[in-house]
């Protein structure tokens, strides 16, 4: 039971890394990046290759994140910038990118499944509440929670967070106050990409990187933000925990219907509160 609880937590962390990025982008720019799952997949693959070549986990993490941040930068500057406030077109473009990234991954990694190796420092297990538990997963949980705290502090307590929050409400006004909103958009986009990369490398240790993982994590993180309320960081956290636990407990106790539990939750939330649990009512 405790084991499942911890597994649920660590899975939630991976989901949170993805959905918080989606949330930030949606909150500020009303953009949903459908290629977010592809970034996860690419980061995992790149992380694996770097780790194999250099035997350094830190480097793998760094390069994986840099890659996805760079891709995000390109996406913002070359494509999405020209589709400002055209939500259907933005969705379509990022949908088209899924195919491009999948083809790229297929060419380079030949459709194999690779796992980023567990960092040496975190191999093994620790005793916890009477059970033994993987050190890596425990570290992952800690990373996730500290990241959630940092994100919260960034958004609530810093100047850049204040600008972002203001930008959510009225981007034009913020621009008028002399802030470079375009630059902030790009920054948020790159940051979200880096978060997806972080999730990709850290998550690859658990889920592996394979063709199709992109769609899998994309759908799950979309469900998370739909449940939590789009654009709400708190919502992303609640949603991640809900879906993470539902998935892990479902697989452990109701293996036949486990896959459908997450959809069941989504449907229930939609029927009761279409704007999501933490979303503002229309």
């Amino acid at each position: 039971m405790i084991l499942q609880f911890l597994n649920g937590l660590s899975y939630s962390v991976i989901l949170f890394l993805l959905s918080s990025g989606l949330c930030l982008m949606f909150g500020l720019m009303k953009i949903v990046n459908l290629a977010h799952g592809s970034l996860y997949m690419l980061a995992g693959y790149v992380g694996f290759s770097v780790a194999r070549a250099t035997d350094s986990f830190a480097l793998a993490l760094l390069v994986g994140m840099a890659c996805t941040a760079l891709i995000s930068f390109g996406m913002d500057r070359c494509l999405l910038r020209f589709l400002y406030k055209q939500d259907i077109e933005q969705l379509l473009v990022t949908f088209g990118l899924i195919y491009i990234f999948e083809n790229l991954a297929r060419n380079i990694w030949k459709g194999h499944t690779y796992f980023v190796p567990v960092p040496k420092l975190l191999i093994g297990s620790v005793d916890l509440f009477g059970t033994t538990y993987s050190t890596y997963r425990l570290a992952l949980i800690l990373i996730g929670f500290s990241l959630a705290a940092v994100l919260w502090l960034l958004e609530e307590k810093t100047k850049i967070g204040a600008i972002i929050r203001a930008g959510v409400d009225d981007a034009e006004m913020v621009e008028g106050m002399g802030k470079n909103v375009k630059l902030i958009f790009t920054l948020v986009f790159v940051f979200a990409g880096a978060l997806a990369g972080l999730g990709g490398v850290l998550g690859s240790i658990l889920t592996g990187s394979f063709l199709g993982v992109d769609g899998m994590v994309l759908i799950l993180s979309l469900i998370v933000i739909v449940i939590g309320g789009m654009g709400s960081l708190k919502g992303a956290m609640v949603g991640s925990l809900l879906i993470g636990f539902a998935d892990v407990f479902g697989k452990a106790y109701f293996p036949d219907v486990a896959y459908f539990i997450v959809y069941g939750i989504m449907v229930t939330v939609l029927v009761i509160k279409p704007t999501g649990l933490m979303g503002e009512s229309e």
């Binding site: 379509l92 088209g96 990118l97 899924i98 083809n103």
Partner: protein, 323 residues
């Protein structure tokens, strides 16, 4: 999106009628001179056209971006797979009836859920629902055959390729005429109104929700007929009928062909089907090409082929009026 209006006068109407007649006679006589390979591709193109036209009804006319249009197609394919593949019935008309019935039920539920939201939310939820169906085909293997799908499906009356081609052609023409009349009816006009300004249509006393709801269900029915024909043609219902790639190629057909144009999706279907078949003979990178075309069309050619034809037609009309 820019509004394109189709205005007709006598000259262009005659020209259009002429083109339609020529196309009609070409398609009817096709089996006489075409190779088997080309006829196969045209059969697939016509089937895809039905699906793409119905997609366009939703995306182009109602302005609803659904990533779950594939659900109709897949439901059609799997209904055939379960009924014909498992030998429950081989009666073609009964299968069509059951397909339409099942599609109405499923899309009524899905539309109810997805239309609780709007815009981006709507798109995301339809995407999740499509993935749910994909998962059902994979996990509920006792019923759906899992990854292998359902096979052993015979064509109605065991017809050969030529007779089946005519069956597809007839279905295509019926669907085309039906969708055309839907678009030009008050229902279609109301949908366009909702696309342009949902709020204002509501203020004018229209219950916009029910129009969108019906548009979703109607377009799903056409998609299911297309899925049914496709399943009969290739003889297998597989999880690929529900997946991302199939879904994206229909979307691409509508985008290339031109949103909110009547013939656009047909042109788009022929383009995508022929392009993917010929490209896959030369290269394995067709998914990359698909993605690049996708991005380019959205970025630079939003009107699509049909849209540019319409612009062209309007120009000709203006020239004629000047004289």
């Amino acid at each position: 999106m820019e509004t394109l209006t189709e205005t007709n006068d006598k000259v262009t109407y005659t020209i259009e009628l002429l083109i339609c007649l020529i196309m009609f006679s070409v398609f009817v006589t096709l089996p006489l001179y075409s190779t088997k390979y080309i006829m196969g591709l045209i059969t697939i193109s016509l089937i895809s056209s039905i699906c793409a036209m119905s997609y366009n009804l939703l995306l182009g006319y109602a302005g609803l971006l659904s990533f779950g249009h594939i659900v109709g197609w897949g439901v059609g394919a799997y209904t055939v797979g379960i009924l014909a593949g498992k030998g429950i019935t081989v009666n073609f008309f009964l299968i069509i009836g059951v397909t339409i019935f099942v599609t109405i039920i499923i899309s009524a539920v899905f539309a109810f859920l997805a239309l609780r939201t709007q815009g981006i939310y709507f798109a995301l939820i339809t995407l999740a629902l499509a993935e749910l169906c994909h998962a059902v085909t994979l996990k509920w293997s006792r019923f759906t055959g899992g990854e292998n799908g359902l096979t052993g499906i015979d064509r109605p009356w065991l017809v050969g390729d030529k007779a089946f081609y005519y069956l597809v052609l007839i279905s295509f023409i019926i669907s085309f005429l039906l969708i055309r009349s839907i678009i030009s009816s008050w229902f279609g006009k109301t949908l366009v109104g909702i696309r342009e300004n949902d709020f204002r249509m509501g203020m004018l006393g229209y219950n916009t929700w029910i129009f969108k709801y019906l548009a979703y269900i109607i377009s799903a029915i056409f998609a299911s007929i297309a899925g049914l024909l496709s399943c009969f043609y290739i003889g297998i219902a597989s999880p690929a009928d529900f997946n991302f790639v199939t879904s994206g190629s229909f979307l691409l057909m509508v985008l290339i062909g031109g949103r909110a144009t009547l013939i656009g999706p047909i042109i788009g279907s022929f383009f995508v089907v022929f392009a993917t078949h010929y490209l896959s003979a030369y290269t394995n990178e067709w998914m990359l090409i698909l993605g690049v075309i996708f991005v380019l069309v959205v970025m630079f050619a939003r009107k699509g082929i049909g849209g540019y034809l319409l612009v062209w037609k309007n120009k000709i009309q203006q020239e004629l009026h000047k004289q």
